[in-house]
Subunit: 423 residues, 2 copies
Amino acid sequence: MKKIIVQKFGGSSLASPERIKCVAEICKETQYNEDCSLVVVVSAMGDTTDDLLDLMVQVNSRPNPREQDMLLSTGEQVSIALLTMALNKIDKKAQSLTGWQAGIKTESIHTKARIKEIETSRILKLLEEDNIVVVAGFQGFDNNHEIFTLGRGGSDTTAVALAVSLGAERCDIYTDVDAVHTSDPRIVKKTSPLKNISYDEMLELASLGAQVLHPRSVETAKFFNMPLRVRSSWHPENLGTLVTDNTNIELNLKEKKEIKVIEGQKAVRGVAIDKKQARISIIGVPDEPGIAAKIFGELSENGISVDVIVQCVSNDGHAELDFTVKRDSAELAKIEIDRIAKLVGAKRTSLDLNVVKVSIVGAGMIDQPGIAAKMFKSLGQKGINIQMISTSEIRISCIVSEKEGEEAVQVIHEAFGLSEISA
Amino acid sequence: MKKIIVQKFGGSSLASPERIKCVAEICKETQYNEDCSLVVVVSAMGDTTDDLLDLMVQVNSRPNPREQDMLLSTGEQVSIALLTMALNKIDKKAQSLTGWQAGIKTESIHTKARIKEIETSRILKLLEEDNIVVVAGFQGFDNNHEIFTLGRGGSDTTAVALAVSLGAERCDIYTDVDAVHTSDPRIVKKTSPLKNISYDEMLELASLGAQVLHPRSVETAKFFNMPLRVRSSWHPENLGTLVTDNTNIELNLKEKKEIKVIEGQKAVRGVAIDKKQARISIIGVPDEPGIAAKIFGELSENGISVDVIVQCVSNDGHAELDFTVKRDSAELAKIEIDRIAKLVGAKRTSLDLNVVKVSIVGAGMIDQPGIAAKMFKSLGQKGINIQMISTSEIRISCIVSEKEGEEAVQVIHEAFGLSEISA
């Protein structure tokens, strides 16, 4: 059997009949150029999901999650049928499969199921018969023949999970950007495309709002060490960005020669901004053991995820706790915090909806001192106030006011010379 | 267990979120008023199927039938989800099922499968748990987990087949007309609604273009003696038309008292027009045994259905054969006929695309002489030329020119006094 490649095309790549025909050409060329068996995973066309949600809220704004899955899973089914027809039109043997036909078994959790296993026999049989197999992303089923969707990043995750289950050589994620960039081109003028990036760096960039790959799919790829290639369906000639494990760069890829060892490349690989942050402060908290655990425990029980946390203790024996939450859960979080503040005898609370998180990411940062200082200095020179700081091994994040967010990204991008990168 | 009623709603009844909410109200009221378990079968919303077909031809005008089924079956899936959400919104427990979830097993023939059997256990369990079960019409699956659509009249057929399999008391077909009428209200001003009609009469009317019920669903209902009620989702208070077996009129229905014995009602129940006809003539055919069989055998092998056939033999030993075919297969039929004409040594052929078939229907006609004469006379008085005549036990059809078709319907409707009917 030939090697297998999995390709995933997102909604914007499939937004019109014309785009679908372009995607079919990409599939045909890949199969020819790489002499491989091809599995193609697709999302719903362009605005289809939004259109369905729009219909939904007109009927019932709080639908049963089961019925929401029933509704939304039709979007990908339309895409698989149309792409298969487009492939047939250019004389490629192809067959479409829904999630249940493709054997994608999920947890029984509506609107956010995780993939448990994939029964690949039907796909393998179709590949052996020389079909391009077109699989609906974002959906699966359970033992009771119920349909489940995978939630955000679902189609990327379907593609990676299929690549892993089929023992594919790699998984191409086609999107509307030509590569992973050093920052968001809508904010920074001279961003540079990255030829390669590690899973960990990609994870930080993805979770920080770079919006290229969903962290879920990157985590799965990392766990199984499945190489991902982020590339554009508008410029398929461009190889885009290869996401792999840094420590295992010697891949059996056609483009192997291009992948230089990562040594010598810049410590900072990219600058990301997450605009969906809100900051909550709780001031004058009695500085007693267990208070933080109590506060964050209650928030967690209410399903509120906390991101950056900063705690400082003043010399009058009171503490101040600052943390950020997703902006759309901020109002709910504030109500909870007000309730808890009374319980623990805090003085007051505040909510600031107008903050963003600006982060630099790079696996090499850990070995290079002065990175954080350089970041803070560049912001200070422009008079941008850093409200909170949070760091991990490969990331430094600053919370700044929303109105200064984009400028912050620009000055940091310039400070680290990312426009001149050619990694 | 409570009695079961199956209700089917067509695309126009579900054309918008508002209409879907109206349908949910009808379901709720039916369940309450009749104290029954309810299974609801739905078509795709309004123009959904046309929109999907439109997308399809832009990608591939001659798609693989398998992929066409994959594409079109999404339309009904959207409807079941939205109607279930609408039912939930008005506090009705409900659950949607796709064709495969509902256990609807079909032949393995894409785009025109027939239902083989229905594995009703899942539906029955949901009904026992007090759910309204909302089932996708028009679709089913086979043992290989392939999706098949049922072709024209599919959703009506799904409803009738479910009613039969579930031992339902009756099957309501909600459409955009309030009842079966004595003729098409777009052609005849004063048509009358029929309170009841026999399966055979309905079959003749349906196949003749009355476009209320597809003959397939009526045939199934007739075979299993399942009462159908044709009614309007815009006027659910109206009982519409009950379609039953004349010989078995004593039904266990709430409305039993209204159903008078059919005796005494008019012999002619309705006037129908089929505008999709084309007439082909083959002239100067040697009058030899087996010629007609040869001609119609060849057409049949090419998938061309012939409707009305008239043959006459002139005294020079040559015959003329006139027949009608569906207009959209007329050009193909003409090519075949030209080929066959040469083979059998016929003199010439002709094709007339501008003919229609006007028919009167009524189970009582067989016992009343003079019906045919009255029909022909009414046409003759208006100078409408009858090109061909065809009759069955309960139907008389005349082929007339298209431009005189609607006038023909009007004069016949008047001649038989159908505007005054109150059957």
